[in-house]
Symmetry: C2
Subunit: 208 residues, 2 copies
DNA sequence: TAGATGACTTGATATATGTCAAAATAGACA
DNA sequence: TGTCTATTTTGACATATATCAAGTCATCTA
């Protein structure tokens, strides 16, 4: 067993804005993203909402949706997004027989929790510049992990969505981008970003 | 199978500040809290840290510790804290035979993720008053869930710890407490708190 | 290509929260 | 009980980010 998505025989496509699942849906599957990208959101009764994550090709969606009805996941990329469905009951059955799968699921689950804790640290104790630098570096290393450029990429999400994720207003996100550019840390034009000085971006994140 | 802790034959005690697990420990057990309370923290390489949760008697600790080495859990109460250990491999074995346990574990896991998402919403989009009101209401309902008063209780944690959890400085926490008292929402003296107007506290959280 | 629509940038100003400092209070211990 | 220390409160001031408001720039459609 090398890749979870080998288990799937059900592939589906979603247009931008298409819902993979939405508030109230019963959780029943994991999804491996083959192309495009997705965002997850939590909703509050009073209408307040927040983006809680962005997911890209090569990553697994779904565990953070377990049993919550205040949570949605939808495609954000400009191109079509494709996923493989991994039905949960099938995974459960298999995981009884295949110990390595059990561990694999654990690892995925853990990763989500660790990721959430990182975001909590970010939201709770970083300033705007640190948050955005951390965000860019995170995208960078995930790009690299999937065989894409670590320094040049196109953002899949709007300033508003980035702001929601980082706990900032879109104007602050935009200003901080501009500021980074003035400092020679990045080159940014609309959604096209190039990281010019990874080292200085890293030191930016690691200070209080 | 009604309560997870019936599985345990291993009970342990911790003094205030005692570590249940600490950075780098290998995750191997869940723990059911019998008395006292605990806090979990994430640590950052640069020394920055944040309280990510408070856990009280009757609750289960441990899942958010899976495979992360930047995470600690320690006792915070004044009195001794006692836990039942639930070894993970034992749980895994049992969960193969007992489907209801599998579901039970799922539910616990989900709850942690949902909780984290709630905190992300709080940290990302609420102001100081809303955060503290949400915090107090959360303590209140958890107290009630364990058969204690929903309106009168003693805080187990310092202003500094509350601030770390809510992404605020301790002075802001203190000022907000005082402000709530002036408004007649609560009665507070050091760590003794009485919620005087639950309804208004709730409306405070649900606006912006 | 022109016009329309939504996304992004930039500026001026307001405001919430942080920072620094001191005093008051509570809890621990001899 | 009194002393010591840590916690909490309160004040004055600084600052980061939000808010409000234009204006520019992209992208899409006709």
């Amino acid at each position: 067993m090398h890749r979870l998505e080998d288990l799937s025989n059900n592939k589906r496509s979603y247009p931008s804005g298409g819902y993979l699942y939405r508030t109230g849906d019963r959780f029943k599957s994991l999804h491996a993203i083959r192309s495009g990208s997705f965002k997850t959101r939590v909703l509050h009764e009073d209408g307040r909402e927040q983006v809680t994550g962005f997911l890209m090709a090569g990553e697994i969606i779904g565990l953070d949706a377990i049993s919550t009805d205040l949570h949605t996941c939808e495609a954000v990329a400009m191109e079509e997004s494709e996923v493989c469905e991994l039905p949960f009951n099938k995974l459960e059955e298999l995981s009884r027989d295949i110990p390595s799968l059990q561990r694999h699921l654990h690892k995925i689950m853990s990763r989500e929790i660790v990721r959430d804790q990182g975001i909590m640290l970010l939201l709770g104790s970083m300033r705007a510049e640190e948050r955005l630098a951390a965000f860019l570096l995170n995208l960078s290393s995930r790009n690299a992990a999937h065989g894409m450029s670590a320094t040049q990429f196109k953002l899949r999400m709007s300033r508003l969505e980035i702001g929601s994720y980082l706990g900032l207003k879109l104007e602050t996100v935009s200003r901080t981008f501009s500021h980074f550019q003035e400092e020679g840390l990045i080159q940014v034009k609309a959604r096209a970003v190039e990281l010019l000085d990874l080292q200085r971006l890293r030191t930016l994140v690691g200070k209080s």
